[in-house]
């Protein structure tokens, strides 16, 4: 038996043998490769129009180079809108990360303490529900709930003598509303991964802690949290990696002329300048700036976490 597997390993090493064994798998790969070539790598090739003056007739390759080549980047760094949009992008991301990261973990830790299976399932099912609501419906629900004339939240606050606050229209409330509704919508679903990690913790650890006289809170702190720390780290890296990719879809829907000073982010700016005004080259430059900052961020976060702990993406 052992001898057989050894020769098999040796044969597997020969490239020619491996190819003769797997050549038809490349037919499986062709559609995937074509897809990535067209819809991911071709747009990267298209990034060159950030250095050109794009003309629809001449196409990506044929359009003339800008003079100087970095002309659109010069424009980019000289507009004050960039500063605002960059600042807003970072602020929304950091707030989402700081305020949004803990609630699912806390929810999972609490659910893990519930021994009544029915109650646990019910809470889980209900808390997943908002995750399946589309962003259009979610934002319109916000508008309805916080409407200053008759929104249900406004009326609830009025019972306590508060408000009315123009929450959906004014800039100062924008970030809070965005981050808060995001937490409300996704907390339950994001908790799943931590619940899964918690169920993987060996019950012997808990038993040992009980014997040592640990109460529930101490067991959460000394057993549960260390047990899910690797999961937390990985997710933190992944979240940091998308810091520059704030959800365009929701921000765009929540924008009003009054809250633009806080709600204009890089991606909505790219959309407006590029697809609405038709300034393709300049908006590509803005988008490219976004992608590069994002790329640098994820590489640094990964490097930092690798140094601090054993866990990293690669």
């Amino acid at each position: 038996m052992k001898e057989q597997s050894k020769t098999a390993v040796a044969r597997r090493k020969s490239l020619r043998f491996r190819f003769s064994n797997t050549w038809d798998l490349y037919f499986f790969l062709i559609p995937t490769l074509v897809y990535f070539a067209i819809f991911h790598y071709a747009p990267m090739y298209g990034l060159q129009i950030a250095f050109k003056n794009f003309k629809t007739r001449q196409g990506i390759w044929g359009s003339p180079w800008a003079n100087p080549v970095w002309y659109h980047f010069e424009r980019l760094f000289s507009t004050s809108l960039l500063q605002t949009a960059l600042l807003n992008t970072l602020a929304l991301s950091f707030y989402s990360l700081i305020f949004g990261f803990l609630p699912p973990i806390i929810l999972a830790l609490m659910l893990n303490q519930v021994s009544n299976v029915r109650f646990k399932r019910f809470v889980q099912t209900v808390s997943y529900a908002p995750h399946f609501i589309s962003v259009v419906v979610m934002v319109s629900m916000l508008f309805c709930m916080f409407s200053t004339t008759n929104g249900i939240v406004t009326r609830l606050l009025a019972v306590f003598g508060l408000g009315p606050y123009p929450i959906t229209s004014e800039a100062q409330y924008f970030r809070g509303l965005y981050v808060g509704s995001d937490i409300w919508q996704n907390m339950g679903f994001s908790a799943i991964i931590y619940i899964a990690a918690l169920s993987g913790i060996s019950p012997e650890l808990h038993e040992a802690a009980v014997i040592d006289g640990a109460n529930k809170a101490q067991r959460i702190w000394h057993v549960d949290i260390p047990g899910i720390l690797p999961t937390i780290t990985i997710l933190l890296i992944l979240r940091s990696g998308s810091i520059m990719n704030v959800g365009f879809q929701k921000v765009y829907l929540m924008q009003t002329s009054l809250n633009l000073s806080k709600s204009e982010i890089l991606s909505t700016y790219v959309y407006k300048v590029g697809l609405q005004d038709g300034d393709f080259s300049f908006s590509t430059a803005v988008g490219m700036f976004n992608s590069i900052v994002n790329f640098i961020l994820i590489i640094s976060v990964n490097a930092i976490t690798r140094r601090l702990s054993e866990t990293s993406l690669w």
Binding site: F28, T32, I38, A196
Partner: protein
């Protein structure tokens, strides 16, 4: 099973006062959270069934006030709603089929350790998760392929999601025993036949997970339609909802006969609640039954981290 009894025993022995209070606090907090979710959902449904005047003046608190189907009657008169529903269903079915097929075949090939060039190809694909050309170059590519204003613009640009590809690859790598392949090889089975007649039947749960993720993604998307679709009769449901709910362009098919300003405002209010319900009912009704698949998907995805 024995773990559960062991846990229970431990509790029975050492249920201290602190633990009891701790449990009470947790149950209370979780109940409050659940109630807050339920309240919003119930209120929305109630408002859609209430008299416009009651909603507008804030008399609806939890249950419907002056029950009426007026909102639904008016909403269902709108032809665009049906067009949008139909379009969304078509886009979802076609898109899910294509995406799932592409993802499964690609993921299977990449899950095979004996595939030459696997590492390089995987690396090239993963790179796209961290760096992208951005929306404008993608739009130009879609435009130059003459896909603008067609269903394909909504389906092809996002046909394969890297996270689904990774989930499927992880599943194939961990759940299809190598021995099966060796046995099939001895019988002279080609990879293609092995995949379709042995791997796929063994992968039903992962196929369900991936199809669900894609289906929901297409159903809930408005952004791709907003940039790629110009003809109104091709609008998916979400884009149509956006027009009315966010931009507040209530169509005359729904409110045409009401001319008085105040009545119109009241009517528009319950039309919004009704559309919110009509727009989210399909998924909210289905998801509790599919819940286990979502949970499975998240767990498989987390295996690899």
């Amino acid at each position: 099973m024995s773990e559960v009894t062991a846990k229970k025993k431990g509790k029975a022995i050492r249920k201290t006062k602190f633990d009891l209070i701790f449990d009470i606090v947790i149950y209370t907090l979780l109940s409050l959270l659940t109630l807050s979710y339920l309240y919003i959902l119930i209120f929305t449904v109630s408002a859609s069934f209430s008299d416009p005047n009651a909603v507008y003046s804030g008399r609806v608190v939890l249950w419907p006030v002056d029950f009426t189907l007026q909102g639904y009657q008016r909403v269902f008169q709108e032809k665009m709603l049906w067009t949008g529903y139909l379009n969304s269903i078509i886009y979802m079915v076609v898109g899910t089929l294509i995406s799932t097929f592409l993802t499964l075949t690609g993921a299977y090939a990449l899950s095979r350790k004996d595939l030459p060039g696997r590492g390089v190809i995987t690396g090239l694909l993963v790179f796209t998760m961290f760096f992208s050309g951005g929306i404008i170059p993608l739009y130009l590519i879609v435009r130059s392929l003459k896909l603008l204003n067609t269903m394909w613009a909504l389906i092809l640009p996002g046909a394969i999601s890297m996270s689904n590809l990774i989930i499927a690859r992880t599943f194939f790598a961990n759940s299809i025993p190598d021995g099966l392949l060796d046995a099939a090889k001895i019988d002279g089975c080609m990879n293609t036949r092995f995949f379709f007649s042995i791997v796929l039947p063994l992968s039903k749960p992962i196929i369900a997970v991936i199809a669900l993720y894609y289906g929901i993604g297409i159903w809930n998307d408005y952004f791709n339609a907003m940039i790629y679709i110009k003809t109104r009769s091709f609008y998916p449901l979400q884009l149509f909802l956006r027009e009315i709910l966010i931009s507040s362009q209530t169509s005359s098919a729904m409110t045409g006969d009401v001319l008085e300003q105040e009545l119109l405002a009241q009517l528009q209010e319950i039309i919004k609640y009704t559309l919110i319900v009509v727009g989210s009912v399909p998924l909210l009704v289905i998801y509790p039954f599919l819940q286990k698949y979502f949970v499975q998907g998240v767990m498989i995805g987390s295996l690899k981290g």
